[in-house]
């Protein structure tokens, strides 16, 4: 085995020899390649497949740069770009660090992110979609061939020729129905076992009966066979299934990619030595280091370090919270200023993050109460169709004095003509068109009925932090301060990574303020920054540290050399388009509410800026959900939009929910729709599109009903020929699809 690998690996990337290349240059990469090949030969089983997301790739040049660039990196055996997914699959020797690949790509000029292969799931090859596509292709092939033969029969082939054509049709159609009809048979079987009549029961019955009866007619040398209608029905319905599957899988894989970007790793300290491990490997009692900007992977107690925590995603508060040895932290909080060492008190499934996520899963199962339009229609439709076919069979049996063959023929014609093509194709066609349009506006529709539920919404509930805001703070009223104070504040703020200091730095730099020259700048994590100016101590930081009154809102304090104190108030950055979105929703006649976990001062100010009159502050997660449930009990249909862990219960309770892509994974999982954009303005457009698509679905039902009203009496009277059935079926399928495409 080893020699075989050696021969193939000795020169895995042959390159044309360049005349200008000096021998050393050619030799060196060869030596490196050989070394690589040897190490690969020693451990052939331990190859690793790493997946990296590179959002910046967009052309042939990028593919070439990234692939060739990566293959020059030691330890990389092969790299393959998928331009559609903007990913690179790297086939690497063990021991190659992902961080090396990411730095290497950064040197090549591409921003890259690690993707967690577990979160992406095993569905990368998409077996379900592929199987559907295969069935679709087989039924398409069969439909075209059988139709060709059927046309000959309809146009007058007789006797032996007709029988031969029927036999060939049977040879094509029956295996096709057996293979391509499986999704319908499976779900019809499941429905019958559960004691329901779903849409798939009449479909399966029509497929089976048309196949069986046509075979009988063929054997008996009869005039009419429905092979073409059966196969065509199968094709159109599979097309509907596939469209439905596609539109959801696009949204699902985009949502999965978002989750996969958050790689569950933590830095564990083993006897003081830092080591990267998977979060799942952490146990109670371990010491974990969390760098500034990192998210707490577990629940724990701080044992070393001073910092501030952003609890926004858990509670909705914007103001950072102090953390020092002895403080208790929860998974999901963000460490802001200094490194913290934690002792793990609960990890994995026991952490508060996992417990809250589990609560959401519980609440979510309650949402199954919504029945889709197609389901509701099928519940009325399926029994009706069966009764009609049975009645036709009974009547013709009696009328023709026991001619089972005639009676069955008519019953099958009724079943085929009434078969819910409109339900099977019309709804997916509309949903796919609408989802595609919404996807381009940044909305990922994760669940199949989300669009219908969105159409019925009359109340919109927003969370504040991270949803209507970007979660970024902006200093207020800078003009009230003296220019030399501003210069001093900039000089101090520059030296810190604290979000308030960074926001202040950005705002002041935008005003072209030149910082004062300071000495001895030191940062005290959790307190602020201190320096000396003209021999006097100046400070920028927390109220109690600087010696000021604790503020009502978020603020930072500057102690000037004169000894007095300047206050810099902060407010959250409004998400772009938030004002327009709220105004547009109100103009559409929707009630808009704001429910936040933040303090009343911040929320009131904010609600006023947006023109929202109904707001609630200091809301606990359970209160948010209870408020939404109360609105629902009042008969309202609620759209909830929120990003944090404190919103997840409300997201799961609401009729339909949207989470921004920047939100916590748990919130995105709980929501039906993930919003990827920054600008909130398309929200009202999305609601409009949802209502429009609901109208289209209902129109399609109406069209199907009209068509049935014309065709069913003909079939019942025994006047429908296989040609008429085939023509009517394709006509109705095409008309409902075209209607779906009218969505704007």
């Amino acid at each position: 085995m080893v020699p075989a690998i050696m021969t193939t690996a000795a020169d895995p990337h042959p390159q044309p020899m360049s005349a200008a290349a000096c021998p050393a240059c050619i030799l060196t990469p060869d030596a490196a390649r050989l070394a690589r090949a040897v190490s690969a030969a020693q451990q052939p089983a331990l190859r690793e497949h790493l997946i990296v997301s590179v959002p910046g790739m967009h052309c042939a040049g990028c593919i070439s740069t990234v692939e060739r660039g990566l293959e020059r990196l030691d330890g990389v055996r092969a790299a393959r770009v998928n331009l559609g997914l903007k990913r690179v699959m790297v086939d690497a020797a063990p021991g190659l660090q992902l961080s090396d690949i990411i730095t290497h790509l950064a040197n090549l000029g591409y921003e890259a992110h690690e993707l967690d292969a577990d979160a992406l799931g095993p569905e990368q090859n998409d077996p379900e979609g592929r199987a559907l596509l295969m069935r679709l292709a087989v039924s398409f092939f069969a439909m075209m061939n059988v139709m060709l033969l059927s046309v000959a029969v309809w146009s007058g082939a007789e006797d032996a020729t007709r029988d031969l054509f029927h036999w060939i049709s049977a040879a094509i159609a029956l295996p096709t129905l057996a293979f391509a009809g499986q999704p319908f048979f499976a779900s019809a079987g499941a429905a019958l076992r559960a004691g329901r009549l779903g849409m798939d029961v009449p479909i399966s019955l029509a497929l089976l009966l048309s196949g069986g009866l046509s075979l009988y007619e063929t054997v008996a040398g009869g005039h009419q066979a429905y092979f073409d209608a059966g196969v065509m029905l199968c094709f159109f319905l599979l097309a509907g299934r596939y469209l439905d599957y596609r539109s959801r899988s696009v949204a699902r894989s985009a949502a999965q990619e978002l989750s996969a970007l958050e790689v569950p790793r933590a830095t564990r300290l083993d006897d003081g030595v830092a080591q990267e491990v998977a979060i799942a490997a952490l146990a109670v009692g371990d010491i974990v280091r969390v760098r500034p900007g990192g998210r707490m992977p577990v629940d724990g107690t701080v044992i070393r370090g001073e910092s501030e925590l952003d609890r926004g995603l858990l509670t909705g508060e914007t103001r950072p919270v102090q953390a020092s040895p002895g403080s208790i932290v929860c998974a999901g909080e963000i460490n802001l200023t200094g490194p913290l060492d934690l002792q793990v008190t609960a990890a994995g499934q026991d952490s508060s993050l996992a417990r809250m996520t589990a609560l959401v899963a519980l609440a979510e199962s309650g949402r199954d109460r919504y029945r889709s339009l197609a389901d509701r229609a099928a519940r009325v439709y399926a029994p009706l169709v069966h009764l009609l076919a049975l009645a036709a069979f009974g009547f013709w049996l009696w009328h023709s004095d026991g001619d089972v063959r005639l009676a069955l023929n008519i019953a099958v014609a009724v079943l085929l003509i009434t078969c819910p093509c409109a339900l099977g194709l019309a709804v997916p066609a509309v949903v796919t068109t609408a989802s595609g349009k919404l996807f381009r506006k940044g909305f990922l529709i994760k669940t199949s009925t989300a669009l219908e539920r969105l159409a019925g919404v009359d109340t919109v509930v927003f969370d504040k932090t991270g949803t209507l805001t970007l979660g970024l703070l902006q200093p207020l009223g800078l003009d009230q301060h003296r220019p030399d104070d501003l210069a001093l504040a900039l000089a101090l703020a520059q030296g810190s990574g604290h979000p308030l200091a960074q926001a202040l730095t950005q705002a002041l730099q935008a005003r072209n303020i030149i910082p004062t020259v300071l000495c001895d700048i030191t940062e005290l994590p959790g307190h602020g920054i201190q320096a000396t100016a003209d021999g006097k101590i100046v400070r920028l930081g927390r109220a109690d540290w600087v010696g000021a009154e604790p503020p009502a809102g978020t603020a930072s304090f500057l102690q000037t050399p004169r000894g007095d104190i300047c206050t810099f108030g902060f407010a959250d950055h409004l998400r772009p388009g938030a004002v327009q979105a709220v105004a547009a929703l109100q103009a559409q006649g929707l009630q808009v509410h704001l429910i936040s976990g933040d303090n009343a001062h911040a929320v009131a100010d904010f609600a006023q800026r947006l023109g929202i009159t109904q707001w609630q502050a200091n809301a606990l997660p359970t209160q948010k959900a209870a408020r939404v449930a109360a609105m629902q009990a009042n008969g309202q249909h609620v759209l909830m939009m929120g990003d944090g862990l404190n919103d997840t219960a409300a997201l799961a309770t609401a009729d339909v929910s949207i989470a921004p892509g920047s939100g916590l994974d748990a919130a995105r999982v709980a929501a039906d729709i993930v919003f990827l954009g920054q600008d909130l303005a398309p929200l009202s457009d999305a609601l409009r599109l949802a209502r429009q698509s609901r109208r289209r679905i209902l129109q399609n039902f109406a069209m199907a009903a009209v068509y049935n009203m014309i065709a069913v009496p003909l079939a019942l009277a025994g006047l429908a020929s296989p040609l008429a059935a085939a023509a009517a079926m394709s006509l109705s399928s095409i008309s409902v699809s075209l209607n779906a495409l009218r969505l704007r």
Binding site: P14, A60, R77, N82, L133, A137, I168
Partner: protein, 52 residues
């Protein structure tokens, strides 16, 4: 009408060939990255054998 004896098998055979080609393409991951494959032909670097 004897010509049918040739024409029907030929037409079905050709259709089947198309179907087989599609099934091959589907099972050999030819539809995994259509956008990338379209761009790849513009590359100037050639390789003598397919990548792993």
């Amino acid at each position: 009408m004897e010509v049918l004896a040739y024409l029907i098998p030929i037409s079905i055979g050709l259709g089947g060939l198309g179907l087989l080609a599609f099934i091959w393409a589907l099972t050999h991951r030819q539809y995994d990255d259509p956008k990338g494959d379209a761009a790849r032909m513009l590359n100037t670097d050639y390789d003598d054998h397919p990548k792993v």
